[in-house]
Amino acid sequence: MKHVIVVGAGPAGSSTAVGALRAGADVTIIDRKTNVGIPVQCGEAIGKTGPGVAEIDIPEESIRAPLRGFRLFSPGQISVDYATKEPSGFTIDRRIFDKELFARATEAGADSLLGARVLDITQENGTVTGVVVRHDGKRKTLKAEVVIGADGVNSQIARLTGLRKSYKPDDIDSCFGYEMANCDLEVTDLMEFLLGSEISPRGYIWIFPKGEGRANVGIGIGGGVETKTAKEYLDHFLKHHDVAKRQLSNAKVIETRVGALPVCGPNKTNVVDGALLVGDAAGQVHPITGGGMGYAMVCGSIAGRVAAKCAQNESVKTSDLQQYEKEWRKLYGAEFDQSLKLRELILQTEDKTLDKLANIVTGESIVQMTAGKKVKIFMRAMATKDGKLIALMRELRKLRMV
């Protein structure tokens, strides 16, 4: 039987493995870590109606609290709510979520190799044919028809195949977060987001309710921001900001978290002869929301299926594996492209103009815009007679977003 190696046992890797198994390949999942899902490096919110409804199977035992939408605070604290009638997502426990998806992949037939660090790839005539790992203190070579890098933002497979060398600081968000108990949240089924160059330059602060007075409170700032660290910005917010004082003055820290995520859109290509990338490694992260799990899982199942089919056909050239790129970009390519442009526009917009924008948008229009879709706010913006807001509208119109 044909063999596929998946590097990385996160949601991307486990979904990829299941996709490849279903299409009839032998699969080995390897991971550098010995404890899948730990440490948690995430805000832990996932939409069940997000990217590709039917394909995301959220393990029930990982669900912490139902979410119906969000409350967005502009820099000047003008809030915009969006809420669905029924829960449209959840906060989850990533330790359980990742572990459960991984367990399911092994139960579906995947082999596992934990504590295996990738040192190199093997190649024959320019085609990737396997990986060299360090495991149990020994150097081992594992061969496969296709190698799949699902190994996160710091992907070794991306580096070794040349698909991505390193990120520029501004291309990633530097994240820090606390899991807190004893919170007095004003809304327990909405995610709160706070924007503002003073509180979180080139990013945002989040408060995600987890039920029972618990919440994930975190920040992502642009990697190139040099004024303060992400931790310093978050600590300052917790101490001084009205929204934090109202809800979190009695809260206690029960876990700290750090992370990095790509916010510059997907890699130009994620395919070489004999190998491909998926998830954070591929840059499949929404450039505005920073969400990645849903995309990783849907793209993973496509990647696994295509890799298995190509392996069985004994033709794993870039042109064969390209089917994966074609399929996932058909689903999310336009959304990523459009939101990357929108991200650039928002980053150039002054806080005061964002406040004025918050005054004229609805939660529904924010959802549409972040999905890269057109919204009807142009006339309302014109009516404000605010020069900078109107200038922003003209730029949005160039992107066909208003």
């Binding site: 550098r32 870590k33 010995t34 440490p39 490096q41 504590g115 660090r117 996160g152 933002v153 710091n154 580096r159 060398k165 390193s166 990120y167 520029k168 600081p169 990633i172 530097s174 994240c175 820090f176 990697g223 190139g224 921001v225 040099e226 660290t229 992400a230 931790k231 310093e232 700290t256 978290r257 750090v258 992370g259 990095a260 790509p262």
Partner: protein
């Protein structure tokens, strides 16, 4: 000597140093390292002194300020 080569000489005397007590192993530093001088192993971050140019890119992105440039 051109200004750039003076600058690069200066940089080469520096080395990134990770404070293990602050580091949460998020790997932000490794993702932006232009010379691939930062290795992630289970439990810690390793700066390879023979590769590190002391450019300080990693210092910028660290969410907890765990990296400083020290003299070689």
């Amino acid at each position: 000597m051109s200004p750039t080569s003076t600058a690069s000489k200066k940089r080469e005397k520096k080395l990134a140093d990770v404070d293990g007590e602050l580091c949460g192993i998020c790997q932000a530093c490794a993702t932006v390292c232009p010379v691939n001088a930062i290795e992630v192993t289970e439990g810690y971050i390793l700066v390879l002194p023979e590769k590190c140019t002391g450019c300080g890119t990693c210092v910028k992105v660290c969410p907890v300020g765990a990296i400083t440039l020290i003299d070689r």
